[in-house]
Symmetry: C2
Subunit: 348 residues, 2 copies
DNA sequence: TCTCCGGATTGAAAGGTTTCAAGTAGTGCG
DNA sequence: CGCACTACTTGAAACCTTTCAATCCGGAGA
């Protein structure tokens, strides 16, 4: 008696090549040939085997396959923050490119938590993925050296690392900060704020550095910059900062703000509008990342655009090269950001 | 001579339990015990084995482990659209719950493409994941029945399916549409538009249906509804629709719009503001999903909130139950949405 | 009729882990 | 001194697939 959910008559166990071979009346090697080198099998045998597979509901066991064949056909992207559209766009670029190379991508999310990142790295290494793309919580963590040393290539995305054990792709954050500040200086602002934090983030430091460079070039003292350190790069933190800034007396309130990312900028924008400030008349705002929502904001947001898709694509290409090309050499690629000017800084 | 990248002296091959056993001077079974039942191994032996593992850079081969042990310890979420914050929030709920159950989650993105969805389902089944959470491109696709029949449980997220071969969790979209429309009717609107499409999406149909119900209850004819069919639920499509609506003569332009999701609403909002319409005075707007950006929009958006994290959590709980509980019974859980009123509908 | 050839098929080995029955040594007790 | 235990450790089998050398077979050529 066979239960209704048991379509192959093997009980709970799922059909193996051996079962298929028995059902089709061929040897196990032939079944494998049908799967891997169908051209070597005569047409008649092939259809018989395929029929048997369909009848039994055969599903190839990837573990066994990988074990024997050595290779897997997946990459992973271990992303820093799945709720930030910047990273989902990067992921899209990765998927596109991987798909073209006939690989699947597993996306994992560390959510800024080092222990989750470590757990995923571990699991992915055990899984013997072909390689890992990662935007690390801490780009200087020692763990990032170990995997390549043991044979799993890693490409670092949107971060820079001093050691040359990996390829990496990133965008010039210092330049981005400078572009933002130069634009504001051109518009005549001299009291500028920089929002971003925590300071442990290299990106935040670099972007601030860029702003300072621009001030320096314009002959302004570093003290001209109001530095607002936030606890994270989120909309909520942007609102907090907005409250602080709007609360300042107009006389020494900055007239413009550069934000370390768009989420911060959107929060700032919303809070300031809510508190009655006019954007850009009372406060000009520049964001960073140019996520899709930046253009759709209350006041369309001027922002520093990063080539997000391109970042993902290039990172994946580097990884594919490292996997397949024995002469691969690690490269650090730096993209150039671009300022997109919208209403939030455009004096009417 | 050992090359600099070869830390274990085994050439390119990575160390296996056998190598560890040899290095530690114990049998292979003991190494396995250290890994799986450390309490059975004497302290001295254990440290010796652990030392050998560290020396050789041993990494457990998950394929072999799975092959022998039968079970894997991963779930997958096959999401419909990684760039829509709604789904990333659902994913977060899933990850939380899975983590508590000591499972990892692989996130895959079908990006609305059926062939990608099919490819991932295939791969995940071959991978023998414990189970799959999915927001399917087409909830009625026959393929969704096959996997559970062959032993991989599936839970459907944010969609409803007629057959009872799966658990599913969803939110009452008809009710959501009704809440949105009732609110607008209360505010005195009688010329209402519904934006959404394509019509192949059950959600769009249900939400529109809810709007129609509300009109009906209020004694309005279905013709009172201006039905704007969009090609997708994106910001860009919302802008398109905005252009169309703003172009209508004020006399028969709708005074309020219900959008099938927030992306659409944000696009509509932005375009209308750009074309000089005042929100909500000239056009009141209700979105759907209440993504974080809804509150941060130009005019904070009234929206129908869905319990996103809860959706993910509950779906995962159902899956975990199905995996571990032999008496599991499939359930269809329907959550209730909630209207969040903000400025975009609040008459000043 | 015999040999040779090539395509089709076969059978066995290998890959790294887990499991489990069986083995060993050491301890306490009578 | 021997026995029964306990605490560890061992070795071999099993999981499922892929690979590859070996075999088989029918037909072409001599």
């Amino acid at each position: 008696m066979v239960s209704s959910t048991d379509e192959n008559g093997l009980g709970t166990r799922s059909a193996s090549v051996k079962d298929v071979a028995a059902a089709a009346g061929v040897s196990l090697g032939t079944v494998s040939n049908v799967l891997n080198r169908p051209e070597r099998v005569s047409a008649g045998t092939r259809t018989r085997v395929e029929q048997a597979m369909a009848d039994l509901g055969f599903v190839r066991n990837e573990s066994a396959r990988q074990l024997r064949a050595g290779r897997s056909s997946t990459l992973a992207y271990l992303m820093l923050d799945a709720t930030n559209p910047f990273f989902t766009d990067v992921a899209q670029g990765i998927e596109e490119t991987a798909e073209a190379g006939r690989l699947s991508v597993f996306i994992c999310n560390s959510a800024h938590r080092p222990e989750r990142e470590a757990a995923y790295l571990n699991r992915l290494e055990q899984q013997r993925v072909q390689g890992i793309l990662i935007t690390p919580v801490d780009p200087d963590a020692a763990a990032l050296d170990e995997l390549p040393r043991r044979g799993t290539p890693i490409v670092i995305v949107d971060r820079i690392r001093s050691t040359n054990t990996h390829c990496s792709v990133a965008v010039d954050d210092v330049l981005g900060g400078r572009l933002a500040a130069e634009h504001l200086l051109e518009m005549g602002h001299t009291r500028i704020a920089f929002l971003g934090g925590p300071n442990s983030l290299g990106q935040v430091r670099d972007r601030r550095e860029g702003v300072l460079q621009a001030l320096d070039i314009a002959g302004l003292a570093p003290e001209a910059l109001t530095n607002v350190v936030t606890a994270a790069l989120t909309v909520a933190e942007g609102k907090n900062a907005g409250e602080r800034i709007a609360g300042l007396p107009a006389a020494n309130r900055p007239t413009a703000a550069v934000c370390a990312n768009d989420l911060l900028a959107l929060g700032l924008l919303q809070q300031c509008v809510g508190l009655g400030l006019r954007i850009p008349e009372d406060l000009a705002i520049v964001g960073y990342d140019d996520i899709d929502f930046a253009a759709a904001a209350a006041v369309p947001l001027t922002s520093v655009r990063q080539p997000r898709l391109q970042l993902g694509r290039t990172a994946t290409e580097l990884l594919l090269d490292e996997v397949s090309n024995p002469d691969h050499e690690h490269q650090q690629i730096l993209f150039t950001p671009e300022l997109v000017v919208r209403t939030s800084t455009r004096r009417s």
